[in-house]
């Protein structure tokens, strides 16, 4: 699904040179054992590197040959540095984004008022001193000093600082578009904002902290994996330490640098070194999709999602119903009904109204439809549920079927003619999932306009993809069950909730969770908040209310409900990358044994030379090559860790067999070739 987008975005700027330079410096700074202790595998590597360094210095002072020990020592330090570098590059990419966000962070002066009514009397305070509950006045051209909710007024706001989208959006008090974000700019009008987040904990602050990775905590799965890596490190520590005793029995006293070399090549330094980079890159990938996850836990949960609750409007359909046909009743010509529909809709600026105009123009071949002089337009109101025009003494109305009938009946009284074809058309349209609109001229019913929810063209394939991945899709809509069922079958979702109330959504989520399923949903309204909080992955729209944004564990800055599908993909890709590199790292050990073991005991037991299947030139070069390969593979895999493994939606079984082949079998074979190549280079330039 999002593979192409992810890949291309990442490939173009995997890491600009300035980030690499900074990362190289950070890699050295991260040698501080206190920082490294959170990464046990690399910490162990650093400890043994320090041990070998001490031995190197001792031998050097004693004037003994140190060429071999020195090289081992250098590559051990490189191993640690490379691991640090991987993390630093990942952090650096996030930091670059944080820098641009920080520029938006405001230290502006805010105008604090005591009351909406007395807004002329304001006190100038620093934005940093604002407290939750303060009211501030923001006029055109000013920065909004903090996160808050508009309590009075309407304004267009430029949110480019957060979303990157420069077209201003409308924000107004009341309703679902009342939230404003600190650091965005009011473009027109004046609003009063009640501050809802203290300085330092605002949305922007959290966003900066997230992309910087400063607050990064290990996610549950990362913790579990770290435990496994620690366990493997312990096992190999036992193996290597006991080998000293077993070696003595066989007549070989193994030196410490050699044992350390064996240890470091066996412990999972590859995945240990790349683990945090993978996690940071996963968050970063979300940010590049303009989605902010409030925790890494949420990103992992996204990969586990079993059920997606998708709003019909905007996700499955284009969101606007469009007129697709206009059916006249018997006795009314097609031309008459089309012209009546056109006139009744000319002043209707809603998407439905415009689609009627477009349809009629198309059918009649008109270039424009001019409003006749003297026309008096009747706008739509929620009370009457009809709109139309009074022109040439005729009253043309269109609107909800029963409202139009009531309008006609009031004029025609008992004489209202209700043709059977009219009712049949209404029924047919409703059954097919469309919305019928009645059209009347005074007391005469003219025909029915068919408004149709147009399902997005590619959505059915995407749902099929999701189904292959074992994810159920559920459409949520306010439509009646008949309409909902029709659209559901057209779009190919697995289930739907019709006439959905917020409570219905919440119940549905709870029910799914009781059956052991993880649920993801998106929402924007205040009444979505409980469901957003209940869902395992709740994506709030940036355009939504503050309550929704607080309740969800992700915010989509583009306010695009389709994004949910991408978010699931990113979560899966993160886990896949982690699993693939772990498998690769462990599989690598096979070759390293064949490199190092014969080298260790070749003097006491020359016959063990048969294990030297790679034909490495000397024992020393064999050990050195394994250590060098072990260090270089970290660097080689940094791009993969940052980009994530290739992800195509498919069933778990086929994904598994593919990844097992590449990273399992590949993990066994690659180091045989790699170590041999390194050995050839090492021998050629005479390092051993």
């Amino acid at each position: 699904m999002s593979t192409k987008a992810v890949a291309s975005k990442a490939a173009t700027s995997l890491a600009p040179p300035d980030i690499l330079v900074r990362a190289a410096l950070d890699a050295v700074r991260k040698l501080d054992p206190r920082l490294l202790a959170k990464n046990p595998v690399i910490f162990v590597t650093e400890v043994v590197a320090a041990l070998v360094t001490v031995l190197f210095l001792r031998d050097f002072a004693a004037g003994q040959p140190v060429m071999f020990t020195g090289q081992i020592m250098a590559w051990l330090w490189f191993t640690v540095l490379f691991a640090n570098f991987a993390e630093a590059v990942a952090e650096g990419r996030g930091r670059a984004q944080a820098e641009s966000l920080k520029r938006a962070r405001t230290d502006a002066v805010a105008r604090r008022i005591d009351d909406i009514k007395t807004r002329e009397r304001y006190a100038k305070v620093s934005a940093l001193d604002l407290k939750v509950g303060d009211l501030v006045l923001v006029s055109a051209g000013e920065l909004i000093p903090g996160d808050g909710e508009i309590v009075d007024g309407i304004a267009s706001v430029n949110e480019a600082a957060i979303t990157g989208e420069s077209a201003p959006v409308i924000r107004e008090s009341g309703g679902d578009r009342s939230a404003v974000t600190g650091g965005t700019t009011v473009v027109s009008d004046e609003i009063v904002v009640r501050i809802t987040a203290a300085a330092g904990s605002s949305f922007l602050d959290r966003m900066i902290a997230l992309v910087e990775g400063a607050e990064r905590q290990k996610t549950p799965n990362e913790i579990a994996l770290t435990i496994l890596l620690v366990g493997m490190t312990l096992i190999f520590l036992i193996t290597v330490v006991s080998l000293y005793g077993l070696g003595l029995y066989g007549g070989t006293e193994l030196s410490v640098p050699v044992l350390v070399a064996l240890l470091v090549t066996l412990i999972p330094t590859t995945i240990g070194g790349l683990l945090s980079a993978i996690g940071i890159a996963g968050m970063d990938r979300l940010v590049r999709h303009n989605v902010l996850a409030m925790s890494g836990r949420a990103v992992e949960a996204a990969g586990d999602v079993d059920t997606l609750l998708l709003d019909k409007t905007g996700t499955i359909t284009f969101g606007n119903r469009m007129a697709t046909e206009i059916i006249p009743v018997p006795g009314v010509s097609e031309r008459e009904v089309l012209e009546a529909a056109l006139l009744a809709s000319l002043a209707d600026e809603t998407a439905e109204g415009r689609s009627i105009v477009a349809l009629v123009r198309d059918k009649l071949g008109l270039a424009t439809g001019e409003a006749p002089a003297g026309a008096h337009f009747v706008p739509f109101s929620a009370a009457t549920r009809i709109s139309g025009v009074d022109v040439d003494g005729r009253r043309l109305r269109k609107g909800a079927v029963d409202s139009v009938r009531r309008f006609a009946a009031e004029i025609a009284g008992r004489g209202l003619v209700e043709p059977a074809e009219y009712n049949a058309a209404v029924d047919r349209i409703a059954r097919s999932g469309g919305t019928p609109l009645g059209l009347a001229a005074d007391g005469r019913l003219l025909g029915v306009i068919h408004l149709k929810d147009v399902v997005k063209p590619d959505i059915k394939e995407r749902f099929a993809e999701l189904r292959r991945m074992g994810i159920r899709t559920v459409m949520v809509t306010g439509d009646n069950p008949v309409t909902a069922a029709a659209i559901a079958s057209e779009a190919g979702v697995d289930d739907f909730i019709a006439e959905a109330t917020p409570q219905d959504k919440l119940n549905y989520i709870r029910n799914e969770q009781r059956q052991g399923r993880l649920v993801a949903m998106c929402g924007d309204g205040t009444n979505d908040a409980p469901a957003l909080a209940q869902a395992d992955v709740g994506v709030a729209m940036q355009s939504g209310t503050q309550a929704a944004r607080e309740a969800g564990n992700m915010v989509d800055l583009d306010s695009d409900p389709t994004k949910l599908i991408e978010i699931v993909g990113i979560g899966k890709q993160l886990l896949m990358t982690r699993g693939s590199l772990t498998t690769f790292s462990i599989a690598n050990d096979v070759a390293k044994y064949f490199a190092i073991l014969p080298a260790l005991f070749i003097v006491a037991i020359p016959e063990l030379g048969v294990l030297n299947v790679m034909g490495l030139s000397t024992p020393q070069s064999a050990i050195l090559s394994a250590v060098i390969f072990n260090a270089l593979i970290i660097i080689a895999l940094i791009p993969l860790a940052l980009r994530g493994v290739t992800y195509t939606p498919a069933s778990a079984a086929s994904v598994l067999s593919r990844n097992l082949l590449i990273y399992g079998l590949g993990g066994i074979i690659v180091p045989f070739i790699g170590i041999k190549l390194v050995d050839m280079v090492v021998t050629a330039i005479g390092l051993s």
Binding site: P220, I223, A224, L225, I227, L228, G231, L234, I235, F236, T239, V240, V241, S242, L243, Y244, G245, L246, L248, Y249, G250, L262, E300, G303, D304, D306, R467, M469, G470, I471, R472, G516, G571, K572, Q573, L575, M576, G579, S580, T582, T583, A587, V590, Y593, L597, L600, F601, I605, E607, L608, L611, Y647, S651, A652, V655, L656, N659, L660, Y663, G664
Partner: protein, 569 residues
């Protein structure tokens, strides 16, 4: 290798699997507390036992209570057996008048039989009275096997139940294991063994006059009753020192085949019971397939290595086509000896019908490897299944991430707690095998007991600790293990190998049982079918192999390559 040899091997495996299917179904019913014919017959006995012991069979235990009950029960078993062995001289049924055992040997033996290891640092016919054999050792043969079965079922319940607290009641599970499964099977097969010529008497010995007129005293005793459960419970502790190579302990080729069947049948059946209890037989089949494939590979390698013999034998003027018959009974031949060697170590039985120490280096490597892979192929009764499930958890965790979901096995999410406990359990083997071996390999005291020089001596040491920690009990002969060092360290290795593994395993059961069992979808990591079987085999071989490859390289592998180069010690 001959086709006749392979035929014998295939027939035994086929009979085992065919008979394990109904037995597994029966076991599942027994543990679920459903009605069975035996339940009707023996139900009053079962209920009487609970009343006697004051156990409420309806009361479920959490994992900790279950584990503590098991530990207390086993500790009592060790104390009782220790007392019997120490006081043997004062107890009845001692026709040969054997004295009590030394403290270190009594400790070693008591631990050995309670942990289902049956490592024997003594010669049975010259050490144990009939009372010790029957009341001491045979009783623990039953109880240690019942303990293993109970624990396995507790772990299976951890997977099968959703959002529960209890994992069963240890006393109920152990009683049912003994009463309905082990006792009836042992009873029937003991009679069969007697029919095949195995002694069953309270006499101590018979006197015989040999062909050249010399007087000979031949030890006998209640052999069949002990051998039946020794094999069925994968205990392996022989009545006689020569174990199943002794004519009284393994009288005919048919008896030999029956005993291989006995070793395997319960361990295989419990895997079928597992599939039944979690409501998805395919899961059981996948686990069994992984076990059997590795076991058959083990059998094949051992058979091939023994049949190929060694260049040394050929140089000594022997017909190389006869293979390596050193240390093997002519009655059983190469195929059945290789089969037995692999089965007894793939299981945690440890009974032997040939001397593993006399195998060719590669042939001897097979039992060593099988023990170190964790004795899960198919493993001891119960212990094989829970060992395999811990492996499956690790396999699913490592590779499961590759499908892009938090790994789950049998509908349970595998998270930090499970991984931590699985890792703890996995650490037991390397710590006690490699740790003790490395120390023993450099200390002059322990080394004095090692019978061979060169790599073979190292193999003896590695084998002893692997056998102890893995609760196998077989030995690479010619290690003189009845010294305080070996008795004590092997006793500790046996205790750790059993209980230090069980406690984290049960913690996993406790953590799993509380989790909601998730519904499977096409996005779920598939844990049945060939892909998972292959993955599981890969993880077992790579994880086990990586830990022990250096040690093997210095022991059996070094011996093999040196032998091929004509170097002997």
């Amino acid at each position: 290798m001959t086709s006749n040899g392979w035929l014998q091997i295939i027939v035994i495996f086929a009979v085992v699997i065919l008979s394990a299917i109904p037995l597994g179904r029966f076991m599942a019913r027994v543990y679920a507390g459903e009605r069975t014919i035996l339940g009707v017959l023996l139900g009053p006995v079962e209920r009487g036992l609970y009343r006697l012991a004051g156990v409420d069979p309806a009361r479920e235990q959490g994992w900790l209570a279950y584990t503590l009950s098991m530990l207390a029960f086993n500790a009592a078993g060790v104390l009782l057996l220790f007392a019997i062995l120490r006081l043997q001289g004062l107890l009845p049924w001692n026709p040969q008048g054997f004295a009590g055992l030394t403290p270190d040997l009594a400790f070693n033996t008591a631990v050995s039989f309670v942990t289902n290891t049956n490592w024997q640092a003594y010669a049975g016919e010259a050490t144990m009275s009939n009372f010790s054999q029957m009341v001491g050792l045979t009783v623990q043969n039953f109880l240690s096997a019942a303990t293993g079965l109970a624990l396995a079922i507790a772990l299976v319940r951890g997977f099968a139940r959703s959002g529960a607290k209890g994992v069963g009641n240890f006393f109920v599970d152990a009683t049912r294991s003994t009463l309905y499964i082990l006792l009836p099977l042992a009873f029937v097969t003991a009679l069969a063994l007697v029919a095949m010529g195995m002694p069953q008497t309270l006499d101590g010995s018979v006197a015989a006059t040999t062909l050249d007129g010399a007087q000979q005293t031949i030890s006998i005793g209640p052999v069949a009753s002990q051998i039946a459960i020794k094999q069925l419970g994968t205990n392996g502790g022989g009545f006689f020192n020569a174990n199943a190579a002794h004519p009284f302990e393994n009288p005919t080729a048919l008896a030999n085949m029956l005993q291989v069947w006995q070793m395997l049948v319960v361990s295989v059946a419990v895997v079928f019971a597992f599939g039944q209890l979690i409501g998805d037989k395919r899961q059981g089949h996948a686990i069994l397939a992984a076990m059997m494939i590795l076991l058959v590979v083990g059998v094949a390698v051992a058979y091939w290595a023994e049949a190929a013999g060694t260049p040394t034998l050929a140089q000594a003027g022997l017909d190389p086509s006869g293979g390596n018959m050193e240390g093997k009974e002519v009655r059983f031949g190469l195929a059945l000896s290789a089969l037995w060697a692999a089965v007894t170590t793939g299981l945690s039985c440890g009974a032997v019908n040939a001397m593993h120490g006399s195998f060719t280096p590669i042939g001897g490597l097979v039992p060593l490897v099988l023990i170190k892979l964790g004795e899960i192929l198919p493993g001891g009764v119960g212990s094989g299944l829970y060992g395999m499930l811990v492996m499956a958890i690790i396999a699913v965790f490592v590779a499961g991430l590759m499908v892009g979901r938090t790994p789950e096995y049998l509908g349970k999410k595998i998270e930090a707690k499970e991984v931590k406990m699985a890792v703890l359990a996995t650490l037991v083997m390397p710590i006690f095998v490699l740790g003790f071996s490395a120390v023993a390999a450099v200390l002059p005291g322990p080394l004095a007991g090692v019978g061979n020089a060169g790599p073979h001596g190292l193999s003896e040491i590695l084998y002893a600790y692997a056998s102890g920690t893995g609760n196998n009990g077989s030995a690479f002969a010619s290690l003189s293990a009845n010294t305080p060092w070996w008795n004590t360290t092997l006793g500790l290795a046996m205790l750790a190998g059993r209980f230090a593994y069980i406690v984290p395993m049960m913690a996993i059961a406790g953590s799993l049982v509380a989790k909601t069992r998730l519904a499977a979808s096409s996005g779920t990591f598939p844990t049945h079918g060939p892909l998972f079987v292959g993955l599981l085999i890969g993880v077992i071989v790579i994880l086990g192999g990586l830990q022990f490859f250096p040690a093997f390289a210095l022991g059996p592998i070094a011996e093999q390559v040196q032998m091929l180069a004509g170097k002997t010690f």
